[in-house]
Amino acid sequence: MEFWKRFSRHRGAVIGLVFLLLIVAIAVLTPMLFPSSPWRMVQRPFLPPFTMDRFPLGTDALGRDVLAGLAYGAQVSLIIGLISTAAALLIGIPIGLIAGYFGGLVDDVLMRFTEFFQTVPSFALAIVLVAIFQPSIVSIIAAIGIVSWPPVARLVRAEVLSLRSREYVEAAILSGQTNTTIILRQILPNTLSPIIVLASLMVATAILLESSLSFMGLGDPNLMSWGYMIGAARTVIRQAWWLSFFPGVAILLTVLALNLIGEGLNDALNPRLSRKGK
């Protein structure tokens, strides 16, 4: 309850949450709202928006319904955003935990490894990975996960370093608990709140990355995504502004909503930190 009170004090975060829930609802209901495939030709090509009630956002160069494309794109964006963030957490959290807890040589090696991935230009690496392993939902999720875990590892490591010397951890060591138990039962639960905040922001970044990849023609060829819609509309931009305008607004609003939620979570979970500078 206390959590919700602090979260709702951030007005933008509440608006973001409402908007995100709306997007989730659309994504879930899409198969019912738009039973036919978003790839099917339903009207004449280049039908401008707001001319036919049946297709309020018009049609694209192949006569496909833009609104249906947006709804299916919401599914793709949310799924890829969530799973690739989960993948990044799965790589980053163990590396951060091990590096921070054991320190010394292990820490050194793991941090060099992390630094390497942090230095390499992430979007270029994602492009190379997806291109070489062929665009598919699996390769896209893997590529986004691989380029976005370093901040997680660094954050977790920093948290562990500050928890490592706490008395309750020392007590756990003295009582003979194994390293695994200490890491998983004593340390990990106490690092969760900054991880949650970071993860909410990472979902936003992952959605942006996915849309950029599909814009470059590296989307899963079987999935209608927002980035693909904009990429396909790039060459006809002079005739049909709406084809790239609406999907872009969808990306912008979704990413904005997630960023606002991240700020709200930060206020709610790390109250001392967020008061600073206000």
């Binding site: 933008g12 630094e115 390497f116 942090q118 230095t119 390499v120 230009p121 992430s122 979007f123 270029a124 690496l125 492009i127 190379v128 990975l129 291109a131 070489i132 392993f133 062929q134 936003a204 942006l208 849309s211 950029s212 814009f215 470059m216 023609g217 590296l218 980035g227 904009i230 990429g231 790039r234 931009i237 002079r238 502004w241 790239s244 305008f245 999907p247 872009g248 990306i251 912008l252 990413v255 904005l256 960023n259 606002l260 600073k276 500078g277």
Partner: protein, 322 residues
Amino acid sequence: MIGFILARLGKSAAILVAIVALNFLLIHAAPGDPAAVMAGEAGASDEKFLAQLRTQFGLDKSLPEQMALYMKGVLTLDLGYSYRQQMPVADLIFSRLPATLLLTFSAFAISLVLGTLAGVLASARVGSWADTLISTAALIFYATPLFWVALMAVILFSVTLDWLPGFGYETVGAGYTGLRRVLDIAEHLILPALTLGLFFMAVYMRMTRASMLEVRGLDFVKTARAKGLAPRTILWRHVFRNAMLPIVTLAGLQAGQLVGGAVLTETVFAWPGIGRLMFEALAQRDYNLLLGIFFISAAMVLLFNLITDVAYRVVDPRIRAS
């Protein structure tokens, strides 16, 4: 200082070698014949051509030998041959590199200057309408897909208003020389540089605002105020100079993303840099070229990081002492 630069150079070299190893791994991990990967689809149908490539790349040798061969090639800047474009990869990249450098440095300068100025302005009047406006704008720019804002800029400023060219590097066939040509390129540069800089402007603005607010509460600022210094002097000489430090660090880290962003911006504006080249390589499945661009852009980031690290030490003498 020289020892520090040498140590950083050594580290950068190690990362560069690791990137080459990664490239090598990727070629071999890719589904299909590595020779076909190197050749792109150009040689996919021609068995004889592929066999020739296999001997050329030493694919009949053992893996470690192949790795050594590849490593030696890349580190002497022999990035292989693009069978699609019928040109050595290194030549292709270096002919396109100046355009990318011009674009990324302009975007970097624009975003850094405008971003920090906006951040200082917002922090000087926390809670005012100017702060709300700047902070909201930063929030929106931060969430806007780069390629989309680039397309929208083309629609608005080029197609509808016809103020600025939305395509290419200079007016084709105009044959401008000297100052006229510089102005022509500058005119073509405005939209790509602004749209590429927008996201980073938002990042620097948020950082500057937070950093200014934090430094403002420190003791030495109170001392300055107690001494009766003018608020303007305190703002720029005391708060701003100290608040800039984390921004310099961040700027170095962002360099990698700037290179990535250039891929998208150059694609939209048909800017003839390595980003556009990467898009062409993707469309033609020219993996050798793709990996070459990846290598060069990583090298660019390393260089950028090195420069900011050195700049950081010049700006903040305290680091040298520790």
